[in-house]
Symmetry: C2
Subunit: 201 residues, 2 copies
């Protein structure tokens, strides 16, 4: 059985940015296949009584996150700029990511994150999403239209419910085939190591 | 100027346990001096509107913390057992840590964490704290008496205020001489690397 990992990401999540940028190289080094799983944190946060990001609810934590993420990105050689407002509404981008085929998804996701946290761009803007789609070689209007269909909306809603049932409470989250769950960009290597070991058994 | 780092810890904090157990070896390897700073997270959490640990407020995060910390401790070869109830009331232990001299503090702090998260012991129990003090070679009753004085209570209160003013919002937190702040056991190495680089400038 080849090793696999579910990579749950949310476009509003700042630490999902470095995770998305580096997961494929780290996974390839361990021969692990990555399933890119877009979902929405909003509904999960709301069941926990939070109406916005914990980084906004707890300002000292929010200030720290910006500084810490700047250090993390500097270390990785990634450009970093926080978008305003934060968090960005990533619903449209998440629907587009859902609409795309599995093999088309990673490029689009990385390109969205690069605009959002590399340039501080407004990914809630339909024009911005359209530009990213086009830059990835897609027919932007066709994908955006598909993203607005009930089938895609339902699929994203189902993914979010699956995430909640899997005990996902933040992003990025990595879930191995045996159910072992790892939260946070810091745990990417541990998660992939676990997935690789599980597949070898 | 020799490199220094403030290590802010809280006895109720689960991730402070591995940090306390390994900070001296990591600091020594970089020639960094550690200032062990006990403080209380309760007053800081309350100004953020939280009446208990975020791990209790958000159950999925709490379940994950226990699993994650078990993995972290396993990796470090540290015994791990969660105390009941969690969080433990660490006020008495924090006052004792405050009462002790700087050079006596690390041994006592490690011994308390070893009982609390290595054995799942009740460190809110005066008898348990007394035993730990005695095991560290102290006159337990004398330290406990000193821990109850206004001077010690005021010193711990002042430390907590200093932590809040420094933007400490969780534990463990590491603060370098230039004010650079790192949060979490995961950031111990980065914090010490930073402290070492700053001292070299």
């Amino acid at each position: 059985m080849p090793a696999e990992i579910d990579f749950w990401f949310e476009f509003a999540s700042s630490y999902s940015y470095p995770a998305a940028m580096r997961i494929e190289a780290e996974a390839r080094a361990r021969d692990v296949r990555v399933n890119w799983r877009p979902f929405l944190l909003g509904p999960i946060f709301r069941t926990q009584g939070m109406q916005t990001s914990p980084f906004n609810i707890f300002p000292a934590r929010g200030r720290y996150m910006v500084r810490d993420l700047a250090r993390v990105c500097h270390e990785l050689g990634l450009p970093f700029r926080m978008p305003t407002p934060f968090p960005q509404n990533g619903l449209l981008a998440a629907r587009c990511a859902t609409a795309l085929a599995d093999e088309e998804r990673p490029d689009f996701v990385r390109a969205i994150y690069a605009v959002e946290f590399g340039e501080g761009g407004a990914i809630s803007d339909r024009e911005v999403v359209a530009k990213v789609l086009a830059a990835c070689g897609h027919n932007a209007e066709a994908v955006l239209e598909q993203a607005g269909t009930d089938a895609v909306k339902d699929a994203l809603r189902a993914a979010t419910e699956e995430a909640a049932e899997t005990d996902v409470f933040g992003a990025p989250t990595f879930v191995c085939s045996d159910g072992e769950l790892f939260w946070g960009n810091d745990r990417l290597e541990s998660a992939l190591d676990w997935a690789e070991r599980f597949a070898r058994r």
